[in-house]
Symmetry: C2
Subunit: 333 residues, 2 copies
């Protein structure tokens, strides 16, 4: 079965142009003819359900996230609600339970429930599970994670520079033995944060010690084993960079259990902000992602697409992080 991507390729126009044509918006005659020829040649058939919903708006948006209990996702949804609630859109939230098959099923499910568009935080970056749904013409915006070979609008944060700024701060406070607990490398953000770490070490001419690089799942109990492994090294790091919220919290828990004082016995810089982190003594150094803004921008792009405006498609918006630098990373000189 051919897809709108095949039509675009054959017609030598962008996917956005094909989408606009399919959804009944005015396009240049020249492009219309090329698209119609391609459609005939490929015997391309548009999913009638998808077609129906574009003309009969339901004012419902689907949000598909890896886990409902994830604090990052919850904060992003607040931003999405901020844009969509005043416009009387309903939001329905589904979880893929960190499972790529469920991601594909839930995409299909949302499509069948006739949502006007879908915002997805993909469970993995190797492939977009649920691609058929996208190809049926329903607007889909990715958040947080890009997916390989996937031409879609996306709102992400600048993970490389976020991680770089954290590691640079640690270096500038005099640390040379810097550990990292990185996430699974099939996840876009996790890969980028490790890149930021390596780039900072390289720029400051610090040799990479493979023992200082640990990996952990991005799950609720992530980081515990990895932190313990780093602590049991003979020549252990003086500072550790933990690359998401659960890893940061769990590392702090292990520190407490071991009686290690944060910022004294071991320095820590985490990722993702919660209102409580800055109420600790010392407050916790963290890379803060613009979660609310990610939600706001994703909702805005999605609305634009729903309304047939496919200008600048696919539009990748990369938002800046900021760093909170505190005494949880000790100054060594």
């Amino acid at each position: 079965m051919s897809t709108i991507k095949d039509v675009a390729k054959l017609a030598k126009v962008s996917v956005g142009t094909v989408s606009r044509y399919i959804n009944g918006y005015k396009i240049k005659d020249e492009n219309r003819i090329k698209i119609e020829e391609a459609i005939n040649q490929l015997d391309f058939k548009l999913n009638p359900i998808a077609r129906g919903l574009r003309t009969n708006k339901t004012f419902t948006i689907g949000v598909l996230i890896p886990r409902i209990s994830d604090i990052f996702c919850t904060q992003v949804i607040e931003g999405i609600e901020e844009v969509l609630n005043p416009l009387n859109y309903s939001i329905i939230v589904c979880s893929a339970n960190d499972n790529f098959e469920q991601q594909a099923e839930k995409m299909k499910y949302l499509q069948n429930k006739c949502v006007d568009g879908i915002i997805v935080m993909p469970v993995t970056s190797t492939e977009l599970y649920g691609k058929e749904v996208v190809e049926s013409g329903i607007p889909v915006v990715l958040i947080d994670r890009l997916v390989k070979d996937c031409e879609l609008d996306a709102v992400i944060s600048d993970n490389v520079n976020g991680a770089y700024s954290a590691v640079e701060m640690i270096i500038k406070k005099g640390h040379r033995k810097i550990g990292i607990i990185a996430g699974p490398q099939d996840i876009y953000t996790a890969k980028e944060r490790l890149t930021g770490y390596l780039r900072a070490l390289n720029d400051y001419h610090i040799e990479v010690n493979e023992n200082y690089i640990e990996y952990s799942q991005y799950t609720k109990n992530g980081g515990i084993d990895a932190f313990n492994r780093l602590m049991s090294l003979e020549d252990r790091p003086t500072a550790i960079f933990t690359t998401n919220y659960p890893i940061t919290v769990n590392s702090m828990k292990v520190m407490m259990e071991k009686g290690l004082r944060m910022g004294e016995d071991i320095s820590l810089c985490g990722y993702d902000q919660t209102e409580l982190f800055q109420m600790f003594n010392p407050p916790v150094s963290v890379v803060v992602q613009p979660t609310r803004e990610i939600g706001i921008h994703a909702a805005e792009i999605l609305l634009k697409r729903i309304n047939g405006d496919y200008s600048r498609f696919p539009y990748i918006q990369r938002l800046k992080t900021h760093l909170i630098s505190t005494d949880s990373v000790k100054t060594l000189f």
Copy 2:
């Protein structure tokens, strides 16, 4: 238009029996005859959509909560997922945005989306907005909050005794000037927690000081003004009981800003647990609700009803809280 409640009343059987009849389950002949007579007499018509979905299960459950960003709701959903995910049910989550009209709309919306059942945390306890949906025969289970005159299964926590245990602990540590930041009194849980506070003071023969009772909305910024008012009293309380998560966090924030040390300058006992509260120094005293269990039990009752088992309807399950008592409440003698 008559409802299944009217049918039950006229037939002198329970709503559960009428529901079983409607959904095609075997009931006593005697009851069947009474129900059929009542249905004819009232010219009762069942919503065909609701009927359709009971025979064509969609394996989808709707969860309607006041706010998606509420930590209590998120924890309850984890429990719901624990039961429903292994059974291949999909969960769709909607927010009522703390608005009773939106609650009614979203109930209707979920019904139209053909969910097999709905778990609702009502925005207010004065009336069940979205009653028509319940009366159409679709199984609905309430969580956290009961609603006046509403015959529905519900899983709640024991708020009176939860609050009582907190205030009793504060009294036993020698405090007599005990403030409370209570929630809006049209919310069931908020009312019950104030009752627990008053009951404990009464049992220990401590006179109620009206100045020590403050109210706050159960919103994200709740508690800030109320805490400031308590602190500005000439004869201010030595301990404060904060009755939900945001009020607890915001009170801690104000304390920090004012340079008041928790457990030294002012004692605090909060409500609802987060993994981070016990990592503070001192850890925070809190009433811990069995959030995960609330979700698990709600999902289990709902499944029972979906499968036509209406025994013990309506079943109100009240789960025990537990108290974490720490040095955030100072021992005065």
